[in-house]
């Protein structure tokens, strides 16, 4: 599970009033990301795995690695389930 995480091709996202809204590639579902999910979403650029994302999250937020690791895994699993990110 050390794969890098990338946004799914053709997913569209926009910043609306400081929040991130993501439209699935089929155009059928819109998702509003909370602050943590939006931060992780930005890092899903196909070059970073979960460990690196956890590390960056710990640098930016007052959070211990165990907690950050759990959050990152949960959020990436959710984003994967929604068809927004994939492991490459």
């Amino acid at each position: 599970m050390t794969n890098q995480i990338a946004k799914v091709e053709d997913v569209i996202w926009r910043q609306i009033e400081d929040e991130t809204v993501v439209l699935t590639a089929d155009g059928l579902s819109l998702h509003v990301l909370n602050t943590t999910a939006a931060f992780i979403w930005e890092l899903c650029d196909g070059t970073k795995g979960t460990e690196e994302i956890v590390s960056i999250l710990c640098e930016h937020f007052d959070v211990v690695p165990e907690e950050a690791g759990s959050d990152v895994n949960d959020i990436i699993v959710k984003l994967e389930g929604l068809g927004l990110v994939k492991r490459i």
Partner: protein, 305 residues
């Protein structure tokens, strides 16, 4: 495209569509439906309709709810074979076969409502790639004081009810089902709302345009009131009302580009245009008083909370 002189040409925004039909009665009915949108411009795309009379209205009525349209690369078919079509890109013609009684007004099947957006998007695709000159919105629009108000929301929230409460007294109904919206003069100016030939529940449909004043997202309720929507709420709600772009032989990249255009359009619209949630009852005097007060506030440059 060379067209027979007898073809009826219907204007859908910037797109002119020629429609020919081999059944005099159906052709007459279509002509009556689209009389406000008859155009003498050169056709961008054609629909050639062959009518068959295999099923009676009584036979069609019970199966209508089960008829599903399946789109193919170059056409569409229906699960119960009531109508189908194949698009010939070389002649820019959609060749359709349809049961005659699908056009009976009493059945309200409105199959041309499914065809015209496809034809519109296909013609736009030929002219502008994936970029559409105007967006199709699932909405009712009413012109008051030379400006358009869009009333929109999911099916069943009251677009047609608003049109009926408007009647001839409180404004001019552009359309109660679908309108076009665009920025022909640039984003510094108000967007322009244009009527479409798409059939709604009310007979009024105008082939005219007006600058957009505001957008009201509908909610039927026990009282009539307005609530200003934040951009995010407005964005999430209007995105659901922008008609999903589909056209014949849509390339994968085109679909992505068209969806992107939907998101950009919705973002700019929610930035530039005031959005409100309108809760309303069937008391039309109260309704139009509330809207008149809103118009007055917007004219003064105030934004109702």
């Amino acid at each position: 495209v060379l067209l027979p002189d007898s073809a009826m040409r219907v204007q859908i925004g910037d797109i002119c569509c020629s429609i020919t039909c081999d059944d005099r009665e159906v052709a007459g009915s279509l002509h009556e439906s689209y009389k406000n949108f008859i155009s003498d411009k050169p056709a961008d795309i054609s629909v050639r309709l062959a009518v068959v009379d295999r099923l009676s209205a009584a036979e069609i009525k019970p199966i209508l709810p089960r008829v599903e349209a399946v789109q193919k690369d170059f056409g569409f078919a229906t699960t119960l074979l009531t109508f189908e079509g194949e698009y010939d890109a070389a002649s820019r013609t959609l060749n359709m076969i349809a049961e005659k009684h699908l056009f009976d007004p009493s059945l309200k099947s409105r199959i041309m409502n499914r065809v015209l957006p496809l034809v519109y998007f296909t013609a736009c695709g030929m002219q502008n790639g994936s970029k559409r000159p105007a967006m199709l919105l699932h909405a009712c629009a009413i012109i008051r004081h030379q400006q358009a108000i869009i009333f929109t929301g999911p099916s069943g929230t009251g677009k047609t009810t608003i049109a009926r409460l408007c009647g001839d007294t409180h404004g001019h109904i552009l359309n109660d089902e679908m309108v076009l919206c665009s920025w022909p003069n640039g984003e510094r100016h108000p967007p322009i709302v244009r009527g479409t030939p798409i059939l709604g529940e009310v007979a009024h449909r105008l082939n005219t345009a007006a600058p957009l004043r505001c957008i009201l997202m509908l909610k039927q309720a026990e009282r009539t009131s307005l609530r200003r929507l934040h951009q995010m709420e407005a964005y999430l709600r209007i995105m659901c009302q922008v008609i999903a772009p589909r056209h014949f032989n849509t390339a994968h990249d085109d679909v992505a580009a068209m969806l992107l255009q939907n998101t950009e359009f919705s973002e700019i619209l929610t930035e530039k245009v005031p959005f409100y949630e309108l809760e309303f009852t069937l008391d039309k005097d109260v309704l139009w008083n509330v809207i008149a007060e809103l118009e007055e506030s917007l004219t003064k440059g105030e934004l109702v909370a």
